[in-house]
Amino acid sequence: MNQATRSTANSLREHASIVLNNETAGNCQESAGSSSKRNDPAVSRPFQAVSFCNQLMPASSRSRRSLAMAAILVSLATPTLEAQDGKAVYTKWCSGCHGDTGAGDGVGAKTMLPHPRDFTKAVYKIRTTASGEIPTDDDLRHVIEVGMPGTGMPEWKSRLSAGEIGAVVQYIKTFSPNSFKGAAAKAIAIGKAPGGDGVTEGKAVFQKLECYKCHGVAGRADGKSAPTLKDDYGNPIRPADLTENWKFRGGNAVSDIYTRLRTGLDGTPMPSFQDAVDNKLITDEQLWRVAQYVHSLSPEKTPEAREVVRAALAQALPKAPEDAAWGNVERFWIPLVGQIIDKPRWFAPTVDGLWVQALHDGRSLALRVSWDDPSKSPDPIWDEWLGRMSKTLTDVDGPLATQQGPDRLVVQWAQNPSDESKRPYFLGGDSRSPVYAWRWSSEPKVEEGTEAGLGKFTALPNAQVTQNARYADGQWQVVFTRPLTSSDTTKIPRLTSGHAIPFAFYAADGSSGEDEVRGAVSTWYAVYLDVPTPTRVFVAPIAMVALSAGLGMLLVTRAQRRDDGRGETTEDGSSHREER
């Protein structure tokens, strides 16, 4: 195990012990340790939030953990558990975040955004009941089973038995006895999605209902009202980014989205559209169309992180971020998580992933990095939001900045890409093994330099990297271009084709109080530059064809000459010459 991966493992361990209780942390440590032995998990899905710790773990470790958990489950599972049995399960697994009294004030709560649910109010986002009503038992059970994507709430189906989950459901209801003392809530009837292509009509209804006021014209959570939004407790809250539906709290199936439109998300600004149907402003079918349209805004398949970004060879490199040529370049999803290792730590990152595209022309590399950020920081309309952020995320390693900074992106590289054993620490390197970095901010500008730890940046003279940035509809697109070679080969890596060159990313949203340390990080990925085809590859086949043709012609000609000389009789007695 090299130094960098060891540090990662240590960091994960530290992180785990911060977020989870001892037993969970133990589990996490084990997996983190084993994951660090693997440098190249082929496919990791860190954004499927099972827990913070799991976010940084490759899938294979999780499945190993699941096996271990299944073993534990067998010993724990007992049928017909009631509320009093639920208390033990709750205390063990839930109270760390949701608090002993269910008020959503566990030790881990303060750092999380969104905060853990406060059960004393019995106000729940994900329900099948009408706006303002209590959820059904099945609603509560479902959320515990599958978790809430995009939040700190993991799935519990792989850890707890059905009986235990049922008991916890009964127990959390006791935190708000008045709310649950009456008749059980009734689920609304959900029909079936209408057939046919509803996207065009759905878009029109989306406009009519003014969903863009919060969710933005392109659905990236950047609507005009977005900076003002708060939940029932005054905490800042973002509208869903409709282009990343794998983070939808209640699931991303069309029927899930439709259900949220009917019921609203209680405790949040998201209202129910039931009354719009009741008032015949829209039909129920049109509400389904909206759900279909919203569903269509995200990729058909939830993106999976791939270890290696391919930089194909191009004749010319598109410099402008909006250049249509980028539309034909394969894009790679790089998930990011909050920087929770170096202090000040940051548990509520705005940017949760980047789309990276790469091309090279044998002389330069062009990277287009695109990421969703609802604010082009700094922007005065987000001042109030920053105020709410500082108020909500108190006591996390000191106060937030009172002024908005710029948005930031750092692309860091191993200084010596060919030496696998010396890959620097993934968090901006360290003093012994710095990284080479492109430090971009939304002025916009980019600097080239070395980093010896997060934010410890030293600019290099004669910067060769250039940037070209565009902000539109809640998304940054930045094209970086740099020559493949450099005169300073000790500090600046040579970008050699045919090799996987390690790089990693850091992103920060200035209007949420993020800076050079509070932000979102990735682990090491790599870019692979396609090997240019040598000229001889093109010349040789043509030469071979010409040669074969020439030789063939020669043979034919010579054979014909011989024929002319003596003739040749076939079996049926005719001669070739006569036929010709």
Binding site: S131, G132, S225, S272, N279
Partner: protein
């Protein structure tokens, strides 16, 4: 009757608020006629009488300025104003304070129950503000929520003890009806599309409440004789209480005085 008075108060406030005709800006609740409400009580009607507690809400000090609203994103609302709209947090006229909710906090006979009137209370969304801004309802009394703006509003109730709701009203002419089942003073209403839109509703199990109008006047009528704790509530200035004893048919005056927030 009640609705007419609410409307009259709203118009009066509009003139005060921004001087524009029909652009009722402040949207204070009127002096509710508690008596009218109590009349329609059903079988569970508690005692009523003909005593009353009336008064004026005084305001001392300089009236704080109300926050200006940037309505540039909502042309349909902005067009309803001739002067820049403000959020009417402080309705102060000649040293009198409006939009103060005054109600009987305690003193009614134990076990007295009152049935909600069949007439609903209306709240309008006009010019991206609520009208009225402060009002009372009885438990289980219908509240009719209207959107008179050709824009998307959501109306969200964020109660402490009642169940809330959050309804989307994406079009002018939409109405929704909701009610609260438990007494609660006050339940905040808000629109999340327009962060400046706030209203407060006092939910009471009896009809003895009123909202001070733009002249700071209020009147709680049809009280049975007794000794009552009367509370006056203001959205920014908090609450004040007074104890008032009324005999049968007696009309008592009880003023309250709020002073501006300390700078």
């Amino acid at each position: 009757m009640r609705r007419m008075m609410l409307g009259a108060a709203a118009v009066a406030f509009g003139v005060w608020g921004c001087g524009g005709k029909g652009s009722d800006n402040a949207g204070a609740g009127g002096t509710s006629s508690a008596g009218a409400v109590a009349q329609s009580g059903g079988g569970g009607a508690g005692p009523t009488g003909s005593a009353s507690v009336s008064g004026v809400i005084h305001f001392t000090g300089a009236a704080p300025s109300n926050p200006k609203i940037d309505m540039s994103q909502e042309a349909a609302c902005k067009g309803k104003y001739t002067t820049p709209p403000v959020e009417p947090q402080f309705v102060v006229n000649d040293g009198k304070l409006g939009n103060v909710f005054v109600y009987v906090k305690s003193g009614l006979p134990n076990g007295a129950t009152y049935t909600a009137p069949a007439t609903p209370v209306e709240i309008d969304q006009t010019g991206c503000l609520y009208h009225p801004r402060v009002f009372g309802v009885m438990t289980n009394q219908d509240i009719v929520i209207k959107n008179n703006d050709a824009v998307l509003h959501n109306i969200k109730a964020v109660p402490a003890t009642n169940r809330g709701f959050n309804i989307s009203q994406p079009s002018a002419g939409m109405t929704s009806t909701r009610k609260f089942t438990s007494p609660e003073v006050m339940v905040p209403l808000e629109c999340n599309v327009h962060g400046w839109m706030h209203a407060w509703v006092g939910v009471l199990p009896h009809p003895f409440y009123a909202t001070a109008d733009s002249t700071g006047s209020f009147s709680i009528k049809n009280l049975p004789p007794g000794t009552y704790t009367i509370e006056a509530w203001h959205e920014k200035l908090g609450t004040q209480q007074a104890t008032v004893t009324v005999g049968a048919g007696e009309a008592k005056t009880q003023d309250f005085t709020f002073s501006g927030p300390k700078a």
